[in-house]
Every structure is written in C-alpha cells, then in structure tokens.
Symmetry: C2
Subunit: 230 residues, 2 copies
C-alpha cells in the first residue's frame, strides 16, 4: 500500500517536506492566508532550513503557494477567476485522460478502480473526511495513470494541489456523499466508450462548481481585511 512511502527515509529531505506541506494543504491543516516561514517550519518539524527552503521554493513556483512579497509566502486564497480558469483546463485535460483511459484500460485496471471507488464510498458513509478527499483525488489522478500519460498526470496533480486548500475548506462543512458519476466513468471505460467516459468525468467536475464558487465567496468575505469592517 505504501510502496512509494517505504523509501521515504531514503529520498531527500526536501521532497519529504514537500509531501508534508502538500498533505497539510489537502487536509486543511494549512488554511488559505496562512503564512509560512522557513525558520518557523524548520523549528516546528525539527528539520534544518535547507530542505524547508527547497520545498517552499518549489511549491511557490508551482503557484501552490503564493509569494506576496519577498519575505511573505502564504497559502493562496483562491479567486473566482483562478478557479474558473482551472476548471476549463481540467475539463479539457481530465476529459482527455478519461478518453485515453477508456481506450487502454485493462480488466485489472478496472478492478483496481472499482476497489478504490468502494473504499471512497465507505469513507463517505463514515464521514471520514480525510480519506474521502484523498480518495476522490486519487480517483481523478488514476485516470491519467491508466491512460499512461505521466506528463498529463503531473499537470493535473499540480492543479489539484492548487485547489487543495479550497476543497479542504469546503469538505470541512459539507462532507461528500457517494459519487455516482465516478461509477459511470468506470462503466463507460468497461464498455470501451471514450466519449461517455469523457462526458461523465466532465459532468463530475462541473457538479462541484456551484458549491465551490459559494465556498470562494465565503472564504473571501470571511478573510476580509479588518479595515473593511467600517
């Protein structure tokens, strides 16, 4: 299960810190507008400054973290424009991934995906937020894995990370339910219907749109500058 994590102690510290920050963003342990400092995380996690600096630099470059000023790096507050842009990109790219995945999926791939979906459904039933959000993301990314498109997967991973804090905040108050559309994607893949698979995943992506737009407004008004309270 943790084939990639077993070697965690072997790979370099910077990457470990990267994953740690990524996880914190995805699970809502780091919230929009939170400030990150090299020395702060260094002391908190007992790691020297260099690996922390590496990780923050990379995340900043990927736009997962935002550099507001030379010494002020924060978890970005998603704007509506940014969300809508990411949405368009995802519709195209995840649609592409679903198509190709439908063309290439092996019986084993389909079994694995169904197993994953069952796990997600159970997590949703039990209101296990962390597992449900992680599972949801894993499903979306696994399409590009089945499609055998590593470059595409890397791009999508980045986009998911950017949306991470927003989604985490949302699930925080509005836990996810079962996801029929995910099952429809797999059914389409099993029928070798790229078009249906694409449409299903696109519909799934769009289904979250209204709620996330709401969440964006909530966050931005909630985090409004105290000065505006006049």
């Amino acid at each position: 299960m943790s084939s990639a994590l077993d070697d965690l102690s072997r790979i370099n510290l910077g990457d470990q810190v990267y994953e740690r920050i990524a996880k914190a963003l995805l699970t809502g342990q780091m919230r929009p507008n939170d400030k990150l400092t090299i020395r702060g995380l260094s002391e908190r996690w007992g790691v020297s400054t260099t690996p922390i600096r590496d990780a923050i630099k990379q995340l900043t470059q990927e736009k997962v973290l935002e550099q507001r000023s030379p010494k002020d790096v924060r978890v970005p507050v998603m704007t509506q424009a940014m969300y809508l842009e990411i949405l368009q990109i995802r519709l195209h790219l995840e649609g592409l991934a679903a198509e190709r995945a439908a063309e290439r999926a092996t019986p084993q791939d389909l079994r694995d995906l169904r197993k994953l979906l069952n796990r997600n459904d159970k997590a949703a039933d039990r209101q296990n937020l962390a597992l449900a959000t992680a599972g949801n993301q894993e499903f979306h990314l696994s399409l590009s894995a089945v499609a055998d498109m590593p470059t595409l997967q890397k791009i999508l991973k980045g986009l998911w990370l950017q949306m991470g804090p927003l989604v985490a905040c949302y699930y925080d108050m509005q836990p996810p339910g079962l996801n029929a559309l995910h099952h429809e994607v797999i059914d389409a893949m099993q029928d070798k219907s790229p078009d249906r698979a694409r449409l299903a995943i696109q519909k799934d992506i769009l289904s979250a749109k209204p709620a996330l737009l709401d969440q964006i407004t909530t966050l931005r008004t909630g985090l409004r500058d105290p000065a505006e309270a006049l």
Copy 2:
C-alpha cells in the same frame, strides 16, 4: 521592451540561473544527453552552488531536466511516446487558449501580435535561428496571455521547455520558413471566430509533427550508446 528584465539584477540569483539554463536549452546550447553538474555550472558561470542547485532542482521537478540517477542530471532525450503525449495536451490547451484569446482580443492585442509575426517572418528570412525559434515560441505563449489565463500559460511554458532541446536540434538543420498558419490564427481572432482560431493553431501544431518525429529518431540513433556499436 524589457520591462521584466530590468529588474533582473534585483530578483534572486536562482531565478536568473533558471532563465539562463532555459535559454541554453531553447537555443541548443545544451543538447540532449548533456550532463549538468552543480559545481560545473557554478564554476562556468561564476555563481555559487546554491542558486545553481535551486535552478536545477526546479527544472528537474518540471521534467525539463531528467534525473537518471541520484547524481546524474541530464538534458532528456525526447521519446516518441513523450512527444505524442505532449502533442495531445498541446492540441487541447493551445486550442483552448486560441479560443479564449479570439473572444477577448483587443485591437491593441491584435496589433502587437501582428508586429510579432512580422518580426518572426523577417527572422526566418534572414535565417536567424535564435530569433526565429524564440519568436515562434513567444507567439504560441502570447495566445494564453491574451486569453488572460496565467495558469494555462505556465503549463504551456513548461511543455515548451520540455520540447526545447528537440526543437532546437531540429531547427539546427532545418530552418523555419514563414508561417501562414500563425497569420490565419490572428485573422480568425480579428473576426472573433474562436473555432477558426482553434483549428488554425491546432493545424500549426500538427504541421510540425512529421518532422519532429523524424528528428526524434535521428537523435536517438545518433546518441546511441557506444556499446551498441558492436
């Protein structure tokens, strides 16, 4: 003209080194299979190890450079599979950029783009490879700029960097000519025809496909391991 470059001395060294390596890749000064070492570049360019390390780390993470083993970072040799994957992604994303650009382009945008194309045509006439390749790339990226989609542009920039060494090798022996399809893209934008703009840019992207596939085969046979020469 160099609004973003005036502050070059102000921004951090790591980013300067990043740009320098990027330029070297795009202009063919660094070739596929070339090995990069921190200390090597450090001495060559008179910069300390830290900024070089930063730049190489970021480029490696973006898959612009390839980490073959823990201490062996190289300019990747593009595979056919990788090229075809990037091609699919670009068809979708640059198509999207062209559509949105066509919807939003202002008269000023159109003037700027035409000016750019004229410059490119002249560069092609004069067989100025460096200018022609840079200009070609600038045109493609400017579509996402006009579309006002910064996230999309960042993704496309990364993909272009990945293809950089391949394109540089190709232009090296097969200089580019005028590009009628680029003009067609702008004409479509001026007519506010997103569909035509998308089709034109997609056609342009595909027009390079056969030649680049050839180039891939050439490179891979040319760089074949000496051991195979039995």
